[in-house]
Symmetry: D2
Subunit: 126 residues, 4 copies
């Protein structure tokens, strides 16, 4: 995580803004269009794992070529996320840290350890 | 962009990793599941704009309450992106900057200024 | 709508089942994988409209070549939907008609005419 | 498949058209918006399987309550697909049957039996 430890979110947002500005693409990068773009790129990421079991997918990403391909799909998603934050003048960092804090309360660690649903709810399901 | 200018991608990745670790959620955060999660959260973002025209969507995000709601959806997407980068030990910064460089060549600024397709291609379509 | 008026949902489901069976693809066509596949094909459909305004998208689908391309994307989505109904032994017709009936009550015609949200809710937003 | 064997695609399209017409929702049901709507509903379907392994998802849909919930999500996707076919005056049956025929040639049964990629391609990956 050497590069990520040195790179600010702001510098990545600026790189995306410069790319968009150089092409006068702000009219295309509307909130509605960017929400679609993020979903489209997310689907391209899913395509890598579509027919694999959970375990096969874990194994597939060990392959160096596949890792690069997946990193490129991830980059596409993040680029559109950063462009949306630029378009709306939103602080990504505070949105992320704020949401993690909300989730701390919504999913208390001791209740959700090793499970993605509350034990109570599972009991109800039985 | 004050906070984003000061916050490294690495520090956000660490915050996400701490959240996941505290709940032993690594088994759920497999590449396949995270790709689905990103797509699911992207869909929740799209829901805000689903029935609005491009212009109505631009207007809607001026509303302070709606801005916060959209920021929260964006945070969900970014959190899962960061969790995927943690799961795969991928540098988000280099993936993003590398992809922007690729796109610089793929979409030369002078050819794509104000258009999302090559002029040639549009001519062919006529 | 001549052909659709003569074709049963069941006959389309059988055509999809025969295609899947001939390739022994049932193990791939699990509920989880098919849900991803539907989302992936939906994203390919969205790609056709990603950078267009609502009105430009309406105009684009008048083009005969584009119409065929869009019909093909729609077919991909429907094929996976039918495969899911086969995998789960679900009646598509009763699911669709049942959901429309639910929606009749959820969205009473006189309250939702020309609007996708209840008037009350819009008033609250003001 | 008793009901599906008796129900034409056209009759379902008509039921969807009547629902949309009664609310004057045609302006909302534009191609762009419907493509988003299909993707949004596909994501709601994925949510049912998001954190489950392929096998756990197969088991989950045996539960009668879960089956109904999944059938409802599937219905939402199909309803928007049928509304798109209405909006564009496309024959769903011929699109589906035409695409299956294309795929017959693209994925010859003897080459793709039990595999979703060509053997050659896998060999190249090694």
């Amino acid at each position: 995580m050497e590069l990520d430890a040195l790179t600010t979110v702001g510098s990545l947002r600026e790189a995306v803004a410069a790319f968009v500005d150089a092409r006068d693409w702000q009219p295309f990068h509307s909130p509605k269009n960017l929400s679609m773009s993020i979903a489209i790129e997310a689907a391209e990421l899913m395509e890598h794992f579509q027919w694999l079991t959970t375990e096969e997918a874990r194994a597939a990403v060990q392959d160096p070529v596949e890792r690069v391909a997946v990193a490129n799909e991830l980059a596409d998603i993040v680029i559109y996320c950063l462009s949306l934050s630029n378009a709306l003048d939103l602080e990504v960092s505070s949105a992320v840290l704020g949401k993690l804090e909300t989730n701390e309360h919504r999913y208390p660690a001791d209740e959700f350890r090793g499970r993605f649903r509350r034990p109570e709810r599972e009991r109800v399901d039985e």
